[in-house]
C-alpha cells in the first residue's frame, strides 16, 4: 500500500479537510481522482441525506476528492454540548418510548447493550426486565423497564439541589457532579429506577479520566445516584438509544411525540395510531407522574412466556 504512505507524507492544497480527518486517527486514505474538483452537492443543498451525517472530505495528493461518510469514521465528537447546555434539552423534541410487551421474550439484549454502553457492572442495572403477573389466573409476561422519564417526575420534585432535572425534550437526567447523594429521589421514584454508587464505581481506566458529560453520564461518580438516561448523546446524533437498536424482536419503539412517530428500527409508525390500535397504557398511570414510556399489552404474543425463562434470574450476584 505504497499510495497510502506517499499520500500521507505530502498533503496539498486546502488541507483543512485533511486535518479534520486525521483527527479521527484511524483512517489514512489516499484517494485518486474521480474527476476535476467541483462544487459538490450544490444542486440539492436543501435535501436531507439519509443518515444525516456530516461529510468528511478526504483530500488527495492532486487535490481531488471522494467522500467518506463521517458517521462511519468517528465516535460521538460531532454532537458534544456543554453540561450547561445539556440541561436544556434538544430543541423541539419530545422523546417517547413504546414498549410492546407482546414481543418481549426476556432476551435481555437491551440490557446487555445498556450495560456495555454505560460501562455498568453486573450488580448495577439501569434497564431491567421484570417477570410480571397481574393476577394469579392471568398469564405472566415480561416487562422491560427503563427509566420512565415522567413528565411530572416525583424524583425531580424532591431533589434539593437541581442535580436531577427535567429537560424540554422530556428527558430526566442527573448531574453526577452536583448530586449530594441524599437518595431522596430513590425514595420518591415509584418505579425503582434509580441506583446508587455506594462505592467507587467500577469502570475501565480510560473511562475514569474522561471529562464528565451529562449526556453520557460518564464517568460514573461515587456517592451519587444514576439511572437510565435514554442515551441523550445518541439522540443528539439523531440515533436511537442502545436498548432500542439492540432488541432483536422490535420490542422498543422510540421517537419524537412532536412528530407523532416512533420506530423500532425496522418499522416506523404513528405514535397516536399505535397507542390507539394496540391499547397502549402507562405503568401506574394512577400515580399521575405522566411517564414518557408507554406499554402495549402482552396480547397475541410473539413468543410463549416460557421462552424467556432461560434468561430469568431472580437475583444477581452480590457485591
Amino acid at each position: 500500500m505504497s499510495k497510502k504512505g506517499d499520500n500521507k507524507e505530502k498533503p496539498e492544497g486546502d488541507n483543512s479537510g485533511r486535518r479534520d480527518f486525521l483527527k479521527f486517527g484511524f483512517l489514512a486514505a489516499g484517494i485518486t481522482a474521480v474527476g476535476p474538483l467541483q462544487k459538490v452537492f450544490s444542486e440539492d443543498k436543501d435535501s436531507v441525506t439519509t443518515d444525516n451525517a456530516e461529510k468528511v472530505k478526504v483530500l488527495t495528493t492532486d487535490g481531488k476528492l471522494v467522500e467518506v461518510d463521517s458517521s462511519y469514521l468517528k465516535d460521538n465528537s460531532c454532537c458534544h454540548v456543554s453540561n450547561d447546555e445539556a440541561r436544556n434539552g434538544i430543541p423541539g423534541k419530545k422523546y417517547v418510548m413504546v414498549i410492546d410487551l407482546s414481543r418481549c421474550k426476556n432476551a435481555l439484549k437491551c440490557q446487555d447493550a445498556c450495560q456495555e454502553y454505560h460501562l455498568l457492572p453486573e450488580q448495577n442495572k439501569w434497564l431491567k426486565v421484570f417477570k410480571m403477573q397481574d393476577s394469579p389466573a392471568a398469564s405472566p409476561y415480561w416487562m422491560p423497564k427503563p427509566c420512565l422519564h415522567c413528565d411530572e417526575p416525583p424524583c425531580v420534585k424532591v431533589c434539593p439541589v437541581d442535580a436531577t432535572f427535567k429537560r424540554t425534550d422530556g428527558l430526566v437526567l442527573i448531574d453526577n457532579e452536583r448530586c449530594i447523594g441524599c437518595r431522596f429521589c430513590m425514595a420518591a421514584c415509584p418505579y425503582s429506577t434509580r441506583t446508587f454508587n455506594f462505592d467507587e464505581p467500577q469502570m475501565p481506566d480510560n473511562a475514569k479520566d474522561m471529562a464528565y458529560s451529562l449526556e453520557t453520564s460518564l464517568p460514573r461518580k461515587k456517592g451519587t445516584v444514576e439511572k437510565c438516561d435514554f442515551c441523550p448523546d445518541m439522540l443528539r446524533q439523531e440515533k436511537l438509544p442502545h436498548c432500542v437498536t439492540a432488541c432483536p424482536n422490535g420490542v422498543y419503539y422510540f421517537g419524537d411525540a412532536n412528530e407523532d412517530s416512533v420506530t423500532n428500527g425496522d418499522e416506523t409508525v404513528r405514535l397516536s395510531q399505535l397507542l390507539k390500535e394496540k391499547a397502549g397504557y402507562r405503568y401506574l398511570e394512577s400515580l399521575g407522574t405522566k411517564p414518557s414510556v408507554y406499554y402495549l399489552p402482552a396480547v397475541n404474543r410473539l413468543f410463549p412466556f416460557e421462552a424467556g425463562l432461560e434468561n430469568y434470574k431472580e437475583d444477581t450476584h452480590n457485591h
Partner: protein, 315 residues
C-alpha cells in the same frame, strides 16, 4: 479451497444483484482465490473475512457501503482491528483512467463495527454519463491479520423522481421510476416503490402498503393531513426503491411546504419539577414570608441579647 468456493457461491447468492458479468468471471476469480489460499496455507494464522456490498443512490449521490464480518463457530462476529484500507474500483481493478472513466476511485479504513461508506461526488454521474451500468469492485489486501478479500456489485442506472402536489384538502406525492433501455429512459413498471415522511430517527411510510409502479412508472399516495411537519413549516418526504436486484437502493428526499407545525414545548413553566429558580410563585412567596417573619423575630431576639449587654453598662 473448497471452503473458499462455497463462500464465493454464498456471496453470489447473497448478492443476487451480481450480474452475468460476475458469473463469467467467477471461475477466473476462483482460480485466483485458490492461488491466494494456497499462499495463505503457508501462514495459517490469517483469518478469513466475508464482505457484503450495497449501493445507494440518494438524491443522485451514489454511495457504496461495505460491511465486513467474520464467521466464528457458525456465528457472525464483528471485525475489529482491521487497519488495512479497502480500495474501491470502478469496472476494473486498475489505476484510474480519465478517458475510460474506470479504475481506482479511492479507499478507506472501516470503522470499529467493520463498516465503511464510500460516497461518490456529484460529478461522478457526469463523468460516467455514458455508462448505464456500473460494477464496483472492493478489494482489501496485505492485512497482517486477515486474508485478502474482494467482492463486487453491479448496478444498472435508474432515475427516481418525486413530485408533490398539495392544496388544502388533499396533498399527494407521486414517485416515478425510469431506467435506460438502450440510451433512452423509459418507465419501469411493477416495481415496489415506497413513499415516506422523514422523521428524526427513521422514515414513516404513508399510503397503501405494497404499491408498485404502474405503466407510467408511477406510484402515488396521499399524505396524512394531520401529521406534524418540521418547525419551519415544511415537511420532508421521500420515495424509495429498496434493495432492488438491478438498481440497488434509490431514494429521493424532498422538502415541501406543510402547514401542520409540531407542538413546541420549550416553555419553562413554574412547576414543582422545575429548576430552583423556576419554583411556583405561591410556594416562593409563602416560604419567603414565613422565613422572613421567623428570622426577623430571631434577629430581634439577638438584638434583645445585645440590649442585655448594653443594660449592664448603665449604672
Amino acid at each position: 479451497m473448497k471452503n473458499k468456493f462455497f463462500i464465493l457461491l454464498a456471496k453470489i447468492k447473497r448478492h443476487r444483484v451480481i450480474s452475468i458479468f460476475l458469473t463469467i468471471y467467477a471461475f477466473l476469480i476462483i482460480g485466483e482465490k485458490i492461488a491466494l489460499s494456497q499462499e495463505n496455507e503457508e501462514s495459517p494464522d490469517k483469518l478469513s473475512l466475508s464482505m457484503n456490498l450495497s449501493t445507494r443512490l440518494t438524491n443522485n449521490i451514489r454511495s457504496i457501503k461495505i460491511e465486513v464480518s467474520r464467521k466464528e463457530n457458525e456465528k457472525f462476529v464483528s471485525v475489529d482491528n482491521l487497519k488495512s484500507p479497502f480500495n474501491l474500483y470502478l469496472n476494473e481493478v486498475k489505476k484510474y483512467d480519465p478517458i475510460e472513466g474506470t479504475g481506482w476511485l479511492g479507499n478507506l479504513i472501516l470503522n470499529k463495527k467493520g463498516e465503511g461508506v464510500f460516497r461518490l461526488t456529484s460529478n461522478f454521474n457526469d463523468l460516467t454519463a455514458n455508462m448505464h451500468e456500473y460494477t464496483f469492485i472492493v478489494k482489501m489486501d496485505s492485512d497482517p491479520i486477515y486474508e485478502d478479500v474482494e467482492d463486487q456489485i453491479t448496478v444498472s442506472v435508474a432515475k427516481l423522481k418525486l413530485d408533490y402536489l398539495g392544496d388544502d384538502s388533499i396533498k399527494t406525492a407521486t414517485a416515478t421510476l425510469l431506467a435506460y433501455n438502450e440510451d433512452e429512459l423509459i418507465p419501469v413498471t411493477d416495481i415496489e416503490v415506497k413513499l415516506y415522511i422523514k422523521r428524526t430517527f427513521n422514515f414513516l411510510p404513508f399510503g397503501e402498503e405494497g404499491l408498485s409502479t404502474d405503466e407510467n412508472g408511477e406510484v402515488s399516495a396521499e399524505l396524512p393531513l394531520d401529521i406534524p411537519g418540521n418547525q419551519n413549516g415544511t415537511i420532508t418526504i421521500a420515495a424509495k426503491l429498496e434493495d432492488d436486484d438491478s438498481y440497488g437502493t434509490i431514494e429521493v428526499i424532498k422538502v415541501v411546504p406543510w402547514s401542520v407545525l409540531p407542538f413546541v414545548n420549550a416553555k419553562r413553566e413554574r412547576t414543582l419539577w422545575s429548576s430552583g429558580d423556576n419554583a411556583p410563585l405561591p410556594l416562593v412567596i409563602a416560604s419567603v414570608t414565613i422565613i422572613a417573619f421567623i428570622w426577623g423575630t430571631i434577629f430581634y431576639l439577638v438584638y434583645l441579647l445585645f440590649k442585655i449587654k448594653k443594660l449592664s453598662r448603665i449604672p
